[in-house]
Symmetry: C2
């Protein structure tokens, strides 16, 4: 008893109280309790158990025990524990007698208590018990830990068994647990016993195993030869996209959670580890150094993209099965019936859109119109785009835009079709044009021939486009204002695609979104063009498509001007990546190194590109919602930044009254769960 | 009368009313008035005049007239007008009889009216009169236009003559007129008759004439040979600074009002035109193409940096004289006795500080500690800095910092000394480190030898520092958090310099300013270091220097967090360049081209880097002031961005209650005038 009180005044307890703000006057309590003994002979024993199987979620009592032993003996691992019943048997204990066999009466009593406990707590419990001379004593019970699969199965079962309400079932599964169901993972048992070679940022979920390659070209080539590869790069850029798709996973030495590699990989639900600064790549020797080891091209590595670990060698992978997917669907139905926040998806291709719909996405919150210029099959369209970019005057540009038009229209049509009946938010061209200028001399020369101008002239034009801070340069709506013909072509592609589908009987709801806005006049200027093109196209096609024009809110000034912007704009969508960049003055491409250091030193609690910074960015979001809805009461407001699929950010979006969150397809289930949980915690009306 | 009413309903009048929002119901008025005739014979005449000389400001009636003529004849320029009196004679009219000689009675009457008018209006007037058959009729009077010199002289004289109060005198001079007094200008008469070859942004005031050179090296070389040169560059960077200083003026093809060239030139009060996109430079041929002409190295051009015009050939320059400077001082005394807002200066050198004090600056609001690494004589210090930057570990870096220390301390001491008795706000290292990494191979090799590492290794380290958006990268306080030893060295240099001067009896008030802050913990972290170093240095030197620690407010998040930041920070200073960049998402290096287009198309009323955007950036400033002073009632708040010397911005700073504005030395008089005028328009108490 003295020892307990002494510990209350101990140095660690005092500083803990100081940090947590607990007054010393509260004092501490001492429980005085009789001890029971499991080591009183053959009719005594001690055991631990779970009221259901924590590995599979099965509704079967699960546990182990030791005869004539105390609690610590079970944990110590010196003697092999016995199973409490048949369903608890494993490889090691298959020939040992169970508690049910040895002490049927005590087991029966225990089983009854198990049922009683679950009925009381509405959850799976972790219990400890002791049998002293034939008499059963319960030592403790607490909520039991479980993996993702088990969590979902238990939630579903308990609701069926009327042990839990639908709301309780939804609260029983954490977003991380749900994520486990969506991707293959490294075999947890193998991973547990292996020391990682290094650690980076967990940028893309799940596990992956493959052979090291150092270039996108090699990745594609090896993949064709049937090899599984992991692409290791200093950092990636849009020209690597083919290789990234071919690879099982991506590992980069530089870049943060929203670097190019991270964004692309997360969009695909592909395993990815970024910003592992300890990786030293020697491209000439085709080797990498990490954690004292030197690995060469073709060597096997394993990545845990959910935690950022890198291992040498080839670990086993565990894949989600069909039963799992069915459980997932059933569980998401519960969530859907509860949540107030809508869940949309960021999708640029019919494949992504299909995937997201399967998970329950109710619209596309971000279709990046320029993404047709990246990746597989983009060569022809990209070439036309490059011609347009390199045009010197209006005629050259208009000609190039005409050539580009059919590509864009077809691309849009394909995704519109998949999203039949749902809104598709098409973001107009966003990145600075020079991002599409080829770096290789041959490509530049080819372009020069097509345009009929010299290599020198073309190089001169390319140089003129370069910017020292492209993130804050000539991009987004600024392109549309300078070159109205670019906006016009995009609007025409969107409306023609929609009109033609509507004539085929396919319902399409295009929402046109203007990016990088900071001024009221920017949206007025662009909206005029869009409305004019709409009228022209509808007249020509003889139909009426429903559409909206809205803007990304991604520049601090746009937040402050939200009241004015809402006069013209019919919806808002927060681009929280850019908004975070501008609000903090953090370039997401360059902030990795110091942000890691900041998190380590406690300067910032968490990387604001991963979860919304509620104090700063969050205040701007609140200001925007308030001012926007003051002007336009029913303003649709969403979020399409990376944080749209992150649980804490979803909770924030729910709280401030957004209409929807939009995230990459693989995050849709997580967003659905998070928004249902948010509604349970803080109920709100639908918007 | 019918014609007047008809004009009210005319197309132009109708659309003018629509634009200006004037209701048509207001109607228009028709004055019916007898006409007088100046063409009724020899004893009739018509003339115009100014109650004082509008060119020199002299208190002498000034005008011209024509006998037997109507008003339009005087203006038409067919007959040479006569002077009204002796003081109005010029080259052309020196032999003509004056009004005073021809019609002494009418002249006497006119002179009496002139005195009466000035007494009534308290200003110099522009009058029109007619003498009909010996009888004088006054046709109209209005405030007369005048140049800068005349405006100041009249203001001073009228106050002496008790025709105007001090306040009226201060209101009689516009900031632009004051600016005319500070710089040599292109001869206005010559400029009037010459068509400019092209137009860029007016980035540095006054006029300049010189021979074209295309590199900084040539500029320095030609200057040594006694030639006046104008440096023409695509854009400038810190390595051009020597050449920029040697040149009479700078002309660039790229960059906006706050590009490197513009910032440096304005700081020096040097003529500069930037962002003239029509200038095509051919470095190989050493020629430039502009407005159809091809100019080569050594050709003369003339620049008007106040308006952005470029002319071929060598125009005459008009320089401010000693009398002018005395009048300026007298006028500023008036302003000083009125204003509530303090005026400080941005100065990095003793020369700039001296200049600013001469104009009346009451402190330094921005001493950029890293500016000792730019320009003349910086080679040795820069070399030490580069060694520091390229250090791989703490020991290497500390050794380099030790070598750097004496340079920094001496540099600080020199400016502290000049600013005796005043606050000097020293901003800690701001730019990303890679900005100082040499581009030339030889320099890199030299550095490698000094550090004892290979060229390859050095190049590798340099590459690792490169950023894709350096403006939002690893800079400012982020460097200080990552490398506390850099902050420590700077604090030590500041405190040792101050302590040693104080021991010599020189009063110094160093204010340490932390840049690029967005988080409360950043300033806590840095302040701890600064306070610790302070205690160490003071103990060692045996004195106590008064000092403050504050922060730049230049990141939107810092504005929102102002209440929290003020818990630790003793002063704020708005860095409106960066704050504008982040609030709009405009890179000041890249926004020139589209911002010009925006202004032309009316998307934005004015370049927000020139004058504070009151709706957006201004709201953030107001939020900051309100939240900061809520936490710390007497918080000193200033502005040290480029807009600190711009009249509309000064008026805004006055209105929102800032303590001071700080601007480059040549803008100090303008800020003094603007703040006095602001106080007259909207009186407030001192802060």
């Amino acid at each position: 008893i003295g020892a307990v009180f002494a510990s209350w005044m101990g140095k660690r307890a005092v500083s803990y109280r100081r940090i947590e703000g607990i007054p010393a006057e509260w004092g501490t309590a001492v429980n005085v309790q009789a001890m029971v003994f499991g080591n009183m002979g053959e009719n005594s024993s001690t055991g631990v158990g779970f009221t259901r199987n924590p590995g599979t979620g099965e509704n079967a009592f699960f546990g182990e025990f030791l005869e004539n032993a105390q609690g610590e003996d079970v944990v110590a691992g010196i003697r092999t524990p016995h199973p409490i019943n048949e369903s608890s048997r494993n490889e090691q204990s298959k020939n040992l007698k169970s508690l049910e066999q040895l002490m049927p009466a005590a087991y029966k009593e225990l089983a009854a208590i198990r049922a009683k406990l679950e009925k009381h707590y509405h959850d799976m419990l972790d219990i400890e018990f002791t049998i002293e001379a034939g008499r059963l004593w319960m030592l403790q019970c607490r909520v039991g830990k479980r993996n993702g699969l088990a969590a979902v199965r238990m939630a579903l079962d308990m609701q069926k068994e009327k042990l839990a309400t639908k709301e309780e079932a939804v609260m029983r599964v954490s977003p991380d647990q749900l994520d486990e169901l969506l991707h293959p993972i490294l075999d947890p048992k193998m991973e547990l016993g292996t020391k990682p070679l290094g650690k980076g940022l967990p940028a893309g979920p799940g596990g992956a195993v493959g052979m090291i390659v150092f270039t996108a070209e090699e990745a594609v080539k090896w993949k064709k030869e049937g090899k599984n590869v992991i692409l290791v790069r200093e950092e990636t850029n849009p020209e690597d996209v083919e290789g990234m798709r071919a690879a099982e996973a991506i590992l980069t030495a530089r870049g943060g959670m929203t670097s190019h590699a991270a964004l692309v990989a997360r969009g695909w639900g592909k395993c990815c580890v970024v910003g592992c600064a300890d990786v030293k790549i020697d491209l000439k020797a085709r080797t990498l150094h990490l954690g004292g080891a030197t690995l060469k091209e073709g060597d096997w590595i394993s990545l845990n993209g959910s935690r950022g670990f890198i291992y040498t060698g080839k670990m086993a992978l565990v894949e989600p099965g069909e039963v799992t997917m069915q459980m997932l669907q059933d569980f998401l139905k519960f969530c859907n019936s509860i949540r107030a926040l809508k869940v949309w998806t960021n999708a640029d291709t019919p494949a992504d859109a299909t995937q997201a719909r399967m998970y329950g996405a109710e619209g596309i919150g971000l279709f990046r119109i320029e993404h047709m210029f990246y990746g597989k099959g983009s060569d022809a369209a990209l070439f036309q785009l490059r011609k347009m970019i390199m045009s010197k005057n209006l005629e050259e540009r208009k000609a190039a835009l005409n050539d580009l038009f059919p590509y864009m229209k077809n691309d849009l049509k394909a995704t519109f079709k998949v999203m039949e009946g749902f809104h598709v938010t098409v973001r107009l061209m966003d990145p600075p044009l020079h991002e599409f200028v080829p770096h290789q001399k041959e490509k530049l020369e080819e372009l020069g021939r097509a345009l009929g101008i010299s290599y020198e002239e073309l190089e001169h034009r390319a140089t003129a486009l370069r910017e020292s801070n492209p993130m804050m340069g000539h991009r987004g709506v600024r392109l549309g204002v300078t070159y109205p013909e670019i906006t016009e072509m995009q609007a025409r592609a969107i409306f023609e695609a929609a009109a033609e589908l509507q004539k085929e009987g396919i319902k399409v709801f295009p929402d046109i979104m203007i990016p990088v806005v900071s001024l009221e006049n920017e949206v007025k200027n662009q909206t005029e063009i869009i409305h004019r093109v709409y009228a022209e196209v509808m007249k020509q096609k003889g139909v009426k498509v429903k559409y909206m024009v809205g803007t990304m809110i991604e520049i601090p000034r746009a937040c402050l001007m939200a009241g004015k912007l809402a006069e013209t704009m019919e919806f808002f969508s927060f681009g929280t990546n850019d908004l975070t960049q501008m609000t903090f003055g953090y370039s997401r491409d360059d902030s990795g190194p110091f942000l890691n250091d900041y998190v380590k030193k406690g300067i910032i609690p968490v990387d604001p590109f991963q979860t919304i910074d509620q104090d700063g960015v969050g205040e701007l979001i609140k200001i925007t919602v308030e001012r926007g809805r003051k002007t336009r009461k029913d303003l649709k407001i969403g979020i399409c930044g990376e944080q749209g699929g992150e649980p804490a950010s979803v909770a924030f979006c729910h709280k401030v009254g957004l209409t929807y969150v939009s995230c990459s397809p693989f995050r849709v289930p997580i967003a659905i769960l998070s928004s249902a949980q948010s509604q349970i915690r803080n109920p709100r009306k639908n918007k």
